[in-house]
Symmetry: C2
Subunit: 213 residues, 2 copies
């Protein structure tokens, strides 16, 4: 299955600016991409799933998968990669900042036999998507999970949801780094630990802390 992984090396993770400078954000975003590609590579050939990854990047990037450069907005760039007519192969779209994703979690995307399979992200996002029908189009602006359901309904397509905390957790904001430290053993988690981030608990609340000594 073609698995498209959108990645924006030219504007890395701006909402992490309160805790990471631009070079750090670029390195951390890259570690998350590497984790995603590594998980996809592990999944390839397992559980009856074959994975043919394609990084859909806004600028050139050197990584462990083929890259297509497309500097348009996410919706237009992804739309061009979806099945366009009957008989086209299905396409999966997986965001590159799912630092908690595991082969087990991603494999669940391929279990439901629906025209469209959605893994909702926190805050109304769509973190992963399997598209098997040419009448489906994406719209990543706003509450995309709601829009994707509506687009599928309007085209009379069947929709299934994958209920996964790991796939719902895209890493956008400082609070999300706690999830990476607590639930991941990948490159992104290692990067955070080497950058001296730890999980701090104050008054029973959980936050990240950085020892910039």
């Amino acid at each position: 299955m073609r698995v498209v992984v959108p990645f924006a090396p030219d504007r890395p993770k701006t909402r992490l600016a309160p805790v990471l400078d631009e070079a750090e954000r670029a390195a951390f975003a890259r570690a998350m991409l590497d984790d995603t590609l590594s998980v996809l590579s592990t999944l390839d050939g397992e559980r009856g799933v074959s994975v043919d990854p394609l990084v859909l990047a806004t600028a050139p990037v050197d990584c462990e998968a083929p890259v297509a450069v497309d500097d348009r907005r996410l919706t237009a760039a992804v739309d061009d990669r979806l099945p366009a007519s009957d008989g086209d192969d299905p396409v999966t779209v997986v965001m590159s900042d799912l630092a908690l994703a595991t082969p087990e979690a991603l494999a669940r995307l391929f279990e439901p036999d629906a025209d469209v399979v959605v893994a909702p992200g926190r805050g109304g996002g769509t973190n992963a998507l399997v598209v098997r029908h040419p009448d489906f189009r994406v719209d990543y602006h706003g509450a995309s999970v709601r829009d994707h359901r509506a687009i599928a309904r309007a085209a009379d397509l069947s929709v299934a949801h994958v209920d996964s905390f790991r796939l719902a957790t895209d890493v956008d904001e400082p609070a999300d780094l706690v999830e990476v430290l607590l639930h991941s053993e990948g490159e992104a988690a290692r990067w955070l630990r080497e950058a001296d981030f730890t999980v701090a608990t104050t008054d029973g609340r959980v936050d990240i802390e950085r020892n910039s000594g």
Copy 2:
């Protein structure tokens, strides 16, 4: 299976104070409790699961399940309800603010055959827990998911995780209300809609909006 549902009617959802007054927070917390009990009741007798619910409340509450009042802190109150010696029945603990929980999501708690089954919550919490062994104790303070893993490891107990966005989403903060509006059809979602909350998308960001007209 005994299913303990902790509930604190005397200090309802203080972190929602920016958007709900105290009476509203009490009503909304109560709607979430009712949703939880309703989901447990639907699950009872299905999928080989029998559910014997007990609301463990810090003050008296009149609801559709037996209530035990215990005004101690969560950890002490729950600990007293866990299996105490070999041969005691297993106990499940499910938080009362999992407004996205469905029978399907909760049923997944009972699938793994482990001494301890954990459904992590966002921000390091433990939103649901199945305890089958008397050597396990809870510690809800701080990053409890990490502490619960450590407690199980120290007692040489097997641990399984349930990877569920619905179970990971406890409703504590204003941003969490978006998830209720987008992903739930229960009483809590209906309460929010009747209180004129809607999902607003501004500049591609998703937030709640209230028409207090």
